[in-house]
Amino acid sequence: MVKKIAPLALFIALAGLFLYMLTQMNRGEYNPRDVPTEFIGKPAPEFALPDLLEPNQMVSSSDFRGTPWLLNVWATWCPECWREHGYLNSLAKQRGIVIVGLNWRDELDKARQMLAELGNPFARVAVDKESDAVMDWGVYAAPETFLIDAEGVIRAKHKGAMNETVWQKKFAPHFETGT
């Protein structure tokens, strides 16, 4: 009897596991391609890159010391970046969050056009044509968003599009405690 039921039980258990993992993937809680990189709690890597909108100026990570800020890696070739753009706009405009854009390996005209059309949620946009900052920050896919506290330490990060659920879970707590 046990021998007859065992394969069925095993099948149901596996099906349950797969269903669970699929829902986790759909919710953005789990991604099989995720690489565990440890940046949280470490000082944010420094960068100094040209400004997208003011090409003769430089955007430096040290410019934002003293206030918590977000670093958002984006590009026009990244579909999820288009999807999260509206949410970033509302974060910046309604909640007054400082977001610094890192435009990664993009065509600059297209990037400027996207900001002109969809609105610009970014305090500044740094241009990373050759993945210099991207490699220092351990980024390998866009979009990715980091939270850097007033002391320049990375407190949270999220791979994939930002939304209210992610914000409430990973980011909002750091703003309420004043870090």
Partner: protein, 161 residues
């Protein structure tokens, strides 16, 4: 057969040829060798099952450039490995360091081999034990009785003829 062979050689050829197209100048052959070794053992994070030498992804190109710059600036192999692992984790290294997190990775195959060996040993043993017990002692007795019965029957039959 020829067709299969052709297809196979094509697959193998594409596997060997790398997407590495940049030409870099090195100060000495040792540096060049360091670079070549490194790009073969650093994982491309976009394609994940290719090294950055094999991958044509833009990030892999940038990583090759970064590796080149680090080699050129006189960094050693282990320093460059550490540089990459600090940013992208041990996952970036095709031969990750031995530590509790990677024990299963390093010793898993040997463990699987030992387990497989034990299973085979057990199966063979069981089969050997099963063979002689196919006929029980009781059945052997019955067989002998039948045999002797048959012989005596034959003998008495022969006698009558």
């Amino acid at each position: 057969m020829t067709r299969i062979f052709l297809a196979l050689s094509l697959v193998l050829a594409s596997w060997v040829s790398s997407a590495n197209i940049e030409v870099y100048q090195f100060d000495d052959p040792a540096q060049e060798q360091t670079y070549k070794d490194l790009v073969e053992e650093l994982r491309c994070l976009v394609c994940q099952n290719q090294s950055i030498a094999e991958s044509n992804a833009e990030l892999a190109q940038d990583m090759r450039r970064k590796t080149y710059e680090l080699v050129k600036s006189g960094k050693t192999k282990s320093e460059i490995r550490a540089f990459m692992a600090e940013r992208y984790g041990d996952f970036m290294l095709y031969s990750p360091p031995l530590k509790p997190m990677t024990w299963l990775l390093w010793f898993g195959p040997a463990l699987a081999l030992i387990l497989g060996f034990l299973v085979v040993v057990r199966l063979v043993k069981r089969q050997r034990q099963a063979a002689p017990s196919a006929i029980s002692a009781e059945e052997i007795e019955r067989l002998k009785a039948l045999q002797s019965e048959a012989t005596s029957a034959r003998q008495s039959k022969d006698g009558t003829v």
